[in-house]
Amino acid sequence: MPNLKDIKRRIRSVKNTQQITKAMKLVAASKLRRAQKAIQDARPYALKLRDVLNHISARCNPDLHALLDQRDGKNILVMVVTADKGLCGGFNGNIIRRSAKLIAENQDKNLSLVLAGKKGKDYFKHRSTDITHEFIDWTREFNYAKAQEIGDLLAQLYIDKKADKIFMVYNEFKSVMQQEVIVEQVLPVVPEPLDAAKETDHVPEYIYEPDEESILDALLKRYMTVQMYRAFLESSASEQGARMTAMDNASRNAGDMIDALSLTYNKARQAYITKELIEIVNGAEALKA
């Protein structure tokens, strides 16, 4: 029979855990609101910028800019965006699994990694893949300038031909309950093919002021930054969503566990009382006899 004291102790410990998970859920919920607003506000800019870039790059010569230059190199760079902290369900696991798959698919190429987030580093540092750069603790100090730094870095690696293709693996924020792992080719920038019919109808050549090349250059630089900015915002909103859901589940499970333990405790207590009663009665009977 389970010891009453032990059960009581377990109930107390589960209750403590539940308090922590509840608090974490609330913290995640409030952070989520902020992160969600940030990503929703940033999306229109990112999408519009992509539109503009598409319009230009589809029409101009790809040789015009180094970042549009497609080459069949063997150097592949993968940027993995994870969180710095755990306890957020499958958030980090999904990213790492997808990245590992991407790495396995490109075994014959020259792979290197750029890691953002502590969890990705923890996983990949023990594996032999070449890690070029790490951004640990980015979640806390993330802003537009940081995005620019990372974007510039990737662009420079590409221009220096240290990487011939750059992918980014991150979580996209779908809803509070749902994140989707996205594998995106960052560089070279691939213009989406234009709808041929639409193009001939409405859009003749653009007028460029001052000129095509300098606009393209400025746009591409900005595009890199905005891409990073958006991916990181998506990721941090997803992280908070995932954590909130995970902690909600954890709190509920803790509640179930407490219920089950209380039941066992009461049963054990009752059995103990019954036993004691029987002993007393037996003792009295024995004395009588």
Partner: protein, 134 residues
């Protein structure tokens, strides 16, 4: 063909405007532009300065600090680095930014990058101050 220009003014922080307007006036890098219905496709850089649009006789003004403008098919997309409503401009902050940038520019031996950054800051601050003087 649409009867209006559709204007979207977006910054990395948020979308400020997304509506049909009559005319858009922007500070292009090569000079100010007024965009009306049926404008030819155009892409240009913007310099820091005043931006406004007119709708039904009413004018709404902003200060932008650089960015891009695209016009296609009566859609005007403005990707501004930052933009604020004219009445929201913080003159005090702009004054401070201006004197700080001027101080940097007066120093000798600063790198080209520092010089350029300070110069950009100065332009932005001046654009804010110039158009809010009233």
């Amino acid at each position: 063909m649409a009867d209006f220009l559709h204007l979207s003014l977006v910054t990395p922080e948020k979308q400020l405007v997304g509506e049909d307007v009559d005319q858009v006036n922007v500070p292009g890098s090569e000079g100010d532009l007024g965009i009306l219905l049926g404008h030819a496709p155009l892409i240009t850089n913007l310099r820091p300065g005043p931006l406004s649009y007119e709708k039904g006789g009413a004018t709404t003004s902003f200060i932008v600090s650089g960015g891009y403008l695209e016009v296609t098919d009566n859609r005007v997309i403005i990707l501004a680095e930052s933009a604020e409503f004219l009445h929201e401009v913080d003159r005090e902050r702009a004054e401070k930014a201006k004197s700080k940038a001027e101080a940097i520019l007066l120093k000798t031996g600063i790198s080209e990058e520092e010089f350029k950054d300070a110069q950009d800051d100065l332009f932005r601050a001046v654009a804010r101050l110039e158009h809010t003087e009233k």
